[in-house]
Amino acid sequence: MKRKVADNKSAVLVCTCGKQLQLDYELIKNAVSKMKLAASVTVHDLVCQEEGLAKISELVDKHGGRVVIAACTNQKIQPRIDEQLELNGKGSTQLQYVNIREHSAWVHENQEEATRKAIDMIRGVLARSAGSTPRQVEKKNIPSHVTVVGGGIAGIEAALSLSNLGYEVTLIELEEELGGHVILLPVVAPTGKSGKEILTGRLDALQKNKGINVMTKTRVKFVEGEMGSFIVHYTTDENENEKTIETSAIVMATGFREFKPTMMDEYRYGKNPDVLTQFELSCMLSEGALARPSDGEEVKDIVMVQCVGSRDEEYKRDCSKLCCTFAIDNSLSIIEKVPDAKIRVIYMDIRVPFEHEMIYKESRDKGVDYIRGRISRVWETDGKTRVQFYDSLLNQYFEVTPDLVVLSSAILPPEGTRELSETLGYLVEDDGHIKELYGKLRRNETRRRGVIAVGGVTRPQFVFEAVTDAQAGALMLHTELQGGSIEGVARGAVLNVDDCVGCSLCAQQCPRGVPLMIEQTDKEEEDEEQKFIFIASIDTLLCHACGVCQSLCPTGATQLNFLTNEQLWSEIEATLEGAGPDYPITLCFYCEECSVSTIDIVGTRKMNYPASTRLIPVPCAGRVSIIDILKALESGASTVMIAACETDRCHIGGTGNEIAQVQVDVAREILTAIGWKGERVDMFRMFSAEPERFTTAINEMVKRSKELGPTPVHQGTSGKWMEASK
């Protein structure tokens, strides 16, 4: 089948970086001017400075926006150029960049080879540019309404922040009262204030705020729809019938759940009324009713047990982070009320972060006894609670008769997190907390667009952490929702509905759940085969532009509007023009997340690697399909590699890199089966803090290209399978 190849010409602007780059510019100019897709070639010394920017403006005008800029990394230069063009009222969506500095001049010793590489890559990007189309600003209005699930400190804070940003907010709380756990804390370290005091101002603000609709005794059942048009189904205690709210985004602030250790027989919790959890003691203290639950007598002697259920293989493996501080808070409140109270805290390790160390010190000064060891058992004699514990520092067993035994039990994710994940689409970690999109850079966001998670539901958090988390989450949503009128250059996947066959691969694999499959019931009626007919629907404004859908689409119905299949394929072909066995070429597709930073750092550090390499950027490794890989080999590449983000660190949503891995794995298997060497294709994980990952990877691929020798394409044996099988 013959492809229609775009032949629009582009202007090429080559930068010398202040005459600093060791490249043969004469040769570049000569070579590029001979390329049929180059409208003109300009060599400039400082493209990033004013006169350079003016030159770009001029070229944009002259060539209808099609300009190829061969300079330093676009990570650095592009924002500046975009800004400048925007100031002048010009579109920048068709500009293409070739990095001849970090990706060539700075990393190759041999000037001739580096120049050759730069020329090849310019030729490639010219082909990409030829197929580019201008992208428009698009607008979309959505309800300026957000639903916050959970009325604890994080939920309240998120609601207030969002309201201040101009959103209507519905705050849904399961219990009768707002305030969650915090409102029942007698004192919150390190403020010294009670939970009530901390919340009063916020609760007042909530009451006064007409933009926030508070619904208590309400339970979210499930959620339908997508960002901008979620429908939350809920029931209330009064009314069993399901009702719905339409909303644009959802904040999960469902907090945490304290572990109730009834199944741990050694503590007698649930059997002896004088055995409490730390939070139950907090409630008792904040109500001002410190007394023995069994007989109402005063409390003089208390044993607190740390790490009940936490750091325990059977219950919660890791540290619950908050319990040490809670225990100290409660100890200090008790001493305030009963100065001669005897408090023993039996611990494995005391872990108090930040300035909580101060209150730990204070408690020691006030006589709280810290015993490193474990409880052996709790039992009752003559109506008294007996505790035996082991002091590991003294290597001795003790028996005491406390009035209360307080268990600092583990902090667990709230109930219902997994159930809601089924319709809300966020991922849940192994420990049951909501998984954030990317721990370092995309905190609070979840896998699903328009659903964020703040506060204890993502991990145990102190009060002040939950507050900042909620504020951050609110801002994060604001950048997505933009106050209800989303406006921007639509950069992402565009679906050609006529080509869609409804296979749903895009909907199954999109890391952010953007494509929706819509059943065409009216068409089904006409169909004689009684087919179920589905067509995808993609909202480009919601798209993160990773290209996974494009890579998997069997019909090419969905394509990124800035990097169509045709664009990439002609770039591959053009870049590899003349690639042969004498100078074996390694082609590297790299993602514009972790990989671009890693490769740029390799450049700035001037770490050397062979120049027989050609680099092609893709928004995410998931954009590279098996066809792209095979095309590269078909066009003469000796080896092909993909540079992608580290496992679990895909910046686009967690799975783009794994989709790429599948393409590579399958390509290797198929190549081996059809008489090639599978090792000609490979994938490597990049990490910008370790630039040597890239040099190691590319050295390996270059080595393979030499060792494996000419490919069947070079030898002319490819495609000759029929002859071979005879």
Binding site: Q508, F534, I670, W721, S725
Partner: protein
């Protein structure tokens, strides 16, 4: 523990399909023997059997004629009370008459039909004086109870005398064992032989297997002498002891551990150790206590119906206690005490000859039922039938204790707290009790209906009670688990449930005779046709029809009316003839190869499912399962999108991470053109690159979106076509439902998974 057997058997759907496969054509091939030899054998058989057949064919009618006479004389038919016996018997006889003409059969049919018409017309009339005087109703009870006492006494006497006989055998057994164990080491092989001889007497499976294994292991040199001795003196001896214990429990009766120790002359601790495993194996169970020692008995697969009925009568009476006045209550309580003891004795007995107890128990049951009704109907005069049914349902539920306990304990939970300080929310209690009462009342209604109208299916019950069928179903399961209901066969594919019933002598006689009349009618036709066309192919039919006659004769010998066997001389006269005819036929058959048509798996490839189903249904009366076929998949049209797997309601279809690369090279220009462009481009690019055609399929370590091979599990596929309809592949998609059943595939799956 009784579930052990069912776990091992095939799943019902699989079993039915397996049956069908075997039916369509035996899969075994046997070597042929020369036809001349076959003919010779057949001639011999014909010569020997034909003279016997005349009297064999005649005996059923002769028997029936005498049976009718006796039945009329003893007015046996009037003693039939079980509602299902007469209609079933009439139905059997009617079907028998569709096959053959027989004066005797139609005579019996007339007799039973008349009686059935009579009972049906009387059924309509209200039973007078149900309310009655409770005291009067309960009056005959003591007498019945003492009757039961003496019947059980007889049982125990029989059991004792059986036990005595067994004890003599046991003593010799134990003596031999002692002799053997006194010196096991000097000649271990002889000891093993001795053990095996003893084992043959106890017939204890695990021992027999273990001994055989040990012997083989020794013979094949896998077990050295030292290990052999060790296994012999420890493991095998233990198994043998278990065999002896089973022998005791089977033949001598239930025993405690010390008693067992005494009997087998072993220390009780040893017995204890040995019996634990038997407990785990589900061979023995505890049935009572003697002082502090548990009494063990062998596990029976079924508890005798009469035991269950007695258990229910006791519950019913106990439920009634509260509604009785002082004196009546005391007397009823003492009766209950006696019944409790009797029940215990029956449980200890395990299995026994039920028939002699049935009559008395049925009378007791009727009295108890009337008493229950009397208790119920005394205060009100509301005639609304539905209300009465509801109230009786309530009472029925009440007698089963569950309701009573809930009513007694519930209020306490609301007003007080339990030991944990928990309290029941009154609202929760209310809804709980409402649904609980609903459940219990519905179950009560169902029980009453089943008891009155005979075995019913969930569908019948739903129609009668207007309760949704799914609720009915869950009630049925619950009551089945509680042993309130038993499975009573199938009707139009629905399972029938019945209360435990015991048939009286008259009922048993009627049922057995009419069932056999039907079976014999079919057997007679078959036998006659086979005799008319005496060929090797028909020898199987000959054997089964003769066997039917023989078995029917044996059964009739056990049928009694008023304690005596009918037409004994007829039965005795034919006994030897029919037995030798069966034996001769089997002997000949064993010398001949299979007469089934030989079908190879390959030949099953194109079996047309609808026609096979039709054929099967016409011969077997039912078809295995509707709605199946074979899903066929064409890789060239598959996009690997997994939509079929995602949408399949039965999880029967799966995209496996296997790529058939070879197929990429087989695609025609035409199908390439029809494929979505990128899929086609992919195949084209692979072809462009290939230097050779692949030979193997690629197995991927992980799932790969867009790639794979479709596999359909024919056991799970219900042929709903969802996958076919969902497939977005070119033209009509990659999947097609073919109304052929891929038998080889199915056979492969059956054999691989069972």
């Amino acid at each position: 523990m009784s579930d052990v057997a069912t776990e091992k058997s095939m799943a019902p759907k699989r079993q039915r399909m397996m049956d069908m496969v075997l039916f369509i054509g035996g899969l075994k091939e046997e070597s042929a023997i020369p036809p001349s030899k076959v003919n010779e054998e057949i001639e011999n058989l014909k010569r020997d059997v034909t003279p016997l057949t005349e009297s064999i064919l005649e005996f059923p009618d002769a028997y029936l004629a005498e049976f009718i006479g006796v039945a009329q004389r003893t007015r046996m038919v009037e003693q039939i009370h079980n509602p299902s016996v007469l209609p079933e018997a009439v139905a059997s006889l009617e079907s028998a008459l569709t096959k053959i003409d027989s004066e005797a059969v139609s005579g019996l049919l007339v007799l039973l039909r008349n009686s059935l018409n009579r009972t049906e017309s009387t059924d309509e009339a209200p039973e007078g004086g149900v309310a009655g005087d409770i005291e009067a109703i309960l009056n005959p009870l003591p007498e019945l109870i003492s009757k039961i006492d003496s019947t059980i006494g007889e049982y125990e006497e029989t059991a004792r005398s059986n036990a005595e006989a067994a004890t003599i055998k046991l003593t010799s057994l134990i003596d031999t064992l002692e002799n053997l164990t006194s010196d096991m080491e000097s000649d271990a092989d002889a000891t093993l032989d001795g053990f095996q001889k003893l084992g043959a007497k106890t017939r204890y499976g695990p021992f027999l297997r273990a001994a055989a294994q040990l012997k083989r292991g020794k013979r094949e040199g896998r077990i050295d002498d030292e290990l052999f001795l060790q296994l012999l003196t420890a493991n095998l001896l233990t198994e043998l002891r278990r065999g002896v214990i089973m022998f005791i429990l089977n033949k001598v009766g239930s025993r405690t551990v010390p008693q067992l120790g005494e009997l087998i002359k072993t220390h009780p601790s040893e017995v204890q150790k040995v019996i634990v495993s038997m407990f785990e194996r589900g061979e023995v169970e505890m049935v009572g206590l003697d002082g502090d020692s548990p009494i063990f008995a062998r596990v029976m697969t079924d508890t005798p119906g009469t035991t269950l009925v007695l258990k229910q009568i006791i519950q019913q009476l106990r439920g009634m206690l509260g509604s009785l006045d002082e004196s009546l209550r005391t007397s009823t309580e003492s009766m209950l005490g006696a019944l409790d003891r009797h029940l215990e004795r029956l449980v200890l007995l395990g299995a026994y000859e039920e028939a002699s107890l049935a009559e008395t128990l049925n009378e007791l049951r009727e009295s108890t039922d009337s008493a229950t009704e009397a208790v119920l109907s005394s205060p009100t005069s509301d005639t609304s039938e539905e209300l009465q049914l509801l109230v009786s349902a309530g009472l029925e539920a009440f007698t089963r204790f569950r309701l009573k306990i809930a009513l007694e304990k519930g209020p306490n939970l609301v007003s007080d707290t339990n030991v944990y300080g928990e309290k029941l929310d009154p609202e929760v209690y209310k809804t709980m009790m409402n649904s609980y009462l609903d459940n219990e009342l519905e179950r009560g209604t169902m029980l009453i209906l089943i008891r009155e109208l005979g075995a019913m299916s969930a569908k019948d019950l739903a129609e009668k009670t207007k309760i949704p069928q799914d609720r009915i179903f869950s009630h049925l399961l619950r009551m089945k688990r509680d042993e309130l209901l038993l499975l009573a066969g199938e009707e139009h594919g629905y399972v029938l449930y019945d209360v435990p019933r015991t048939l009286s002598e008259a009922e048993i006689a009627t049922k057995t005779v009419s069932d056999l009349a039907f079976q014999l009618a079919s057997a007679r036709i078959e036998l006659e046709s086979v005799l008319g066309d005496f060929k090797a192919e028909n020898i199987g039919k000959l054997a089964t029809s003769l066997e039917t006659f023989s078995k029917a004769r044996d059964k009739l010998e056990k049928v009694t009316v008023k304690g005596s066997v009918i037409a004994e001389s007829v039965l005795k006269g034919v006994e030897d003839k029919v037995r030798s005819a069966v034996a001769m036929t089997y002997r000949t058959r064993a010398k001949l190869p299979s007469t089934r048509s030989k079908v190879t798996i390959e030949e099953l490839m194109d079996v047309d499912v609808p026609s096979v189903l039709e054929e099967y249904r016409s011969q077997m009366g039912y078809a295995p399962l509707l709605g199946f076929g074979t899903i066929e998949w064409e890789q060239s049209k598959c996009l690997g999108c997994k939509s079929c797997e995602i949408d399949c309601p039965e999880d029967a279809i799966e995209l496996k991470p296997v790529i058939d690369v070879q197929e990429f090279f087989e695609l025609s220009e035409e199908s390439m053109k029809n494929l979505p462009v990128n899929k086609a481009l992919f195949y084209q690019t692979v072809r462009n690159l290939a230097t050779k055609k692949p030979v193997k399929r690629i197995r991927l370590a992980n799932e790969a979106p867009g790639f794979g091979t479709i596999e359909v599990d024919l056991w799970l596929c219900v042929g709903c076509r969802t996958c076919v309809r969902r497939c977005p592949g070119p033209e009509n998609g990659a999947l097609e439902l073919v109304l052929k059943w891929n038998l080889p595939e199915v056979v492969k799956q059956i054999t691989s998974e069972t």
